[in-house]
Symmetry: C2
Subunit: 411 residues, 2 copies
């Protein structure tokens, strides 16, 4: 075998491994229609189309079709063109970027905010740059932190300690075992998106005070949706002022694209100045920044939308529970139904799509641990009672058809 053939074989075998484990990902090709979310058109590989309902999107509040967002984007596009034309430093800082950063700093009641092309890169770039700014920094990281945080923490080989998920006693042990003089940072999430459970924000802030650690929270699955102005769970719980660095996204509840951190002016200035993932990349298109700013501004006051989302999530959970389906309920807006096997999970997802027009992507390893493969529903304010009925009937039907386990009903 030639070396070139060996390269091809190695790449093929990496793909085959995924097929064998039943976790090869097939992207579902859809087209959402503005004004009709969560409806969308599903285009099969053969080109045929079917109308479906999206039940797994992260546009949690339907802001991706909100008139204020679209108007802001059209307007910026018309006024200033398509891309920004450069990195933030080299001609790519516009008034739209500055306004968005001001909007976000105000949202989180911090001195400053810094936008990135995604929350993934905001986590990666910030967490990998902090050890450069604070030599000897030890990062304490929840074991279920998002891939982008893990990648950022690992990147430069700085000291890290991984604590068991949400286990503040374990975190305390790890903090106590290290040199009290060493700089420390605790990195965690407010809502872990795959189980929908909350991080123990107050207990972690208490530990941070006790051990003189900085706090870093990822609120990507909470911003827009929790707190009286949509600043997240830390705002809801009156803890925002105790967090040193807040990470958020503009691509989920805000419905557009991009990510950010909010922190002190000095911290944002230092990350801005030292993080390669911030410095060496083209800034967001002005129209994207304009749409995101409009969305953030709008959700500072639209409490109805937040209430409606929570109500729909509660209803869906209650109805799936009533049928004995194995759902996880931690009180957040995310509704995971555990299947526990990658092949079954994919089959259920395929049947929901083909037979019921319900689009919910199977969630497999490495996104969740093996054996906890699941369907993860994200009800939103734009899912009507009729759609909810349809989903519940489809799940009931499939669970019977496939003779899947139901939990004992404790009525």
């Amino acid at each position: 075998m030639t070396q070139k053939a060996r390269y091809t074989a190695a790449v093929e075998s990496a793909i085959d491994k995924l097929h064998e484990e039943g976790r090869y990902r097939t992207f579902i090709d859809i087209e959402r229609h503005r004004g009709q979310f969560p409806h969308a058109m599903w285009r099969r590989p053969d080109g045929t189309e079917t109308e479906i309902t999206v039940w797994c999107g992260n546009d949690y509040l339907g802001m991706g079709q909100h008139p204020v967002v679209l108007a802001a984007m059209h307007e910026a596009l018309e006024a200033t063109g398509a891309g920004s034309g450069g990195t933030r430093n080299i001609s790519g800082t516009t008034v739209y970027h500055k306004r968005l950063e001001a909007e976000l700093a105000d949202l989180h009641r911090k001195e400053a905010a810094l936008i990135f092309t995604s929350a993934y890169i905001a986590n990666d770039a910030t967490l990998s740059t902090l050890p450069k700014l604070l030599p000897g920094l030890i990062i304490y990281s929840d074991e279920l932190n998002h891939a982008s945080m893990i990648e950022g923490i690992r990147r430069n080989g700085g000291a890290k300690r991984v604590f068991r998920h949400n286990d503040v006693e374990h975190l305390r042990e790890l903090l106590a075992a290290d040199d009290p003089a060493a700089p420390k940072l605790i990195a965690f999430e407010s809502i872990y998106s795959m189980d929908g459970d909350f991080g123990p924000i107050e207990a972690i802030c208490d530990l941070a005070d006790e051990f003189d650690a900085l706090t870093y929270i990822d609120e990507v699955h909470a911003v827009g949706m929790y707190g009286p102005r949509g600043a997240g769970v830390a705002e809801r719980d009156g803890l925002m002022g105790r967090i040193d660095i807040i990470n958020g996204t503009l691509a989920k509840a805000y419905g557009v694209m991009g990510g950010y951190i909010a922190s002190s002016a000095k911290m944002c200035d230092a990350i801005r100045s030292y993080a390669p993932g911030f410095i060496f990349t083209t800034s967001l298109p002005p129209a994207v920044a304009a749409g995101a700013a409009a969305s953030v501004r709008h959700l500072k006051t639209d409490q109805d939308l937040r209430d409606k989302q929570q109500r729909h999530a509660r209803i869906l959970k209650a109805r799936l529970k009533a049928m004995g389906l194995p759902i996880i309920d931690h009180g957040s807006h995310i509704v995971p139904v555990i299947v526990g096997d990658p092949v079954h999970c994919k089959q259920l997802s395929d049947m929901l799509l083909e037979d019921f027009g319900v689009y919910v992507q199977p969630i497999n390893f490495p996104t969740v641990p093996r054996g906890t493969e699941r369907l993860r529903f994200t009800p939103s304010p734009v899912h009507s009672p009729e759609m909810l009925d349809g989903l519940v009937r489809a799940m009931d039907n499939l669970w019977s058809q496939c003779a899947l386990n139901r939990q004992e009903l404790t009525a």
Copy 2:
């Protein structure tokens, strides 16, 4: 001093260091006006505004204001809304993403293409994932490769060899010194953006054949602008078929945002399946994908625009040379004028902006090596002869005023 005060002091001292070295970056806040590129409004920190000409953008062909790009974006925004609503796997693959990937695969005559939120993350994610697919992979990297390639190559601590810039003899030595059976990849750029010089593509492909190595080329400063269909320098030189993985951007000559790789179907499938930076991030907004696809499609035929850019670059270089200014000329579209000191470089840039309405950002370390600080001009088809005159007069004036060195004129 408390620990919290020490954190603040450490962050402050990192910022102070930049001030002391004269390389603290001040972002210039601008607003380009569609239809009037390269004109823009400069907004000072005090809120006052002045009209300027942008001479340092990477929207090399002015496609950011092209009607076909803007029409495609408005249309997609109207049809499908703002964001994509999810990662590529979880509801974030739309017909717009598929069309863009097909357009790019066709552009580079490859089986497939894979889009990322930026070319930065395309480099980082691909180069850090390849060692997982090809165990024992050694990456040979040009010493002047872009930060995103360096970050990707370093990320997982795989084997790497750095060869002196464009030095194929050095590369040969390094290749020859390693186990012939070890998998190898040579990573380099077609145009190095800070000097504007070309990589020795053919010689590197020859070495790759000789040593059974894969080839990875970053064409971000070339796509759209070189080659009969704008596929880059490798296309221009008839070498595209000899490159295994091509990296490109949609944010420079194509005027929008995003990045990609083009390669074999298997390779794209494997990167798609294994790269965290691809998997765990929201996909590009459909409107961005639509605008980028329209731009790529348009530039497959608009040779006039490419010719005009090259002509303007030649004229600017000839005129600056004629005045004895220390420019670097490697025959590409990029026009760097060496200043050699970060403080002078910043002062010149400030004076050009304040006194002449010429916006060119100073380029300092770490973007370029210390002692080679420069002003880097990017003439485009939308810079008129009058603007060119204005720039040349301004530079002449400043060079005299500041008693800066001129090269000996060899007429």
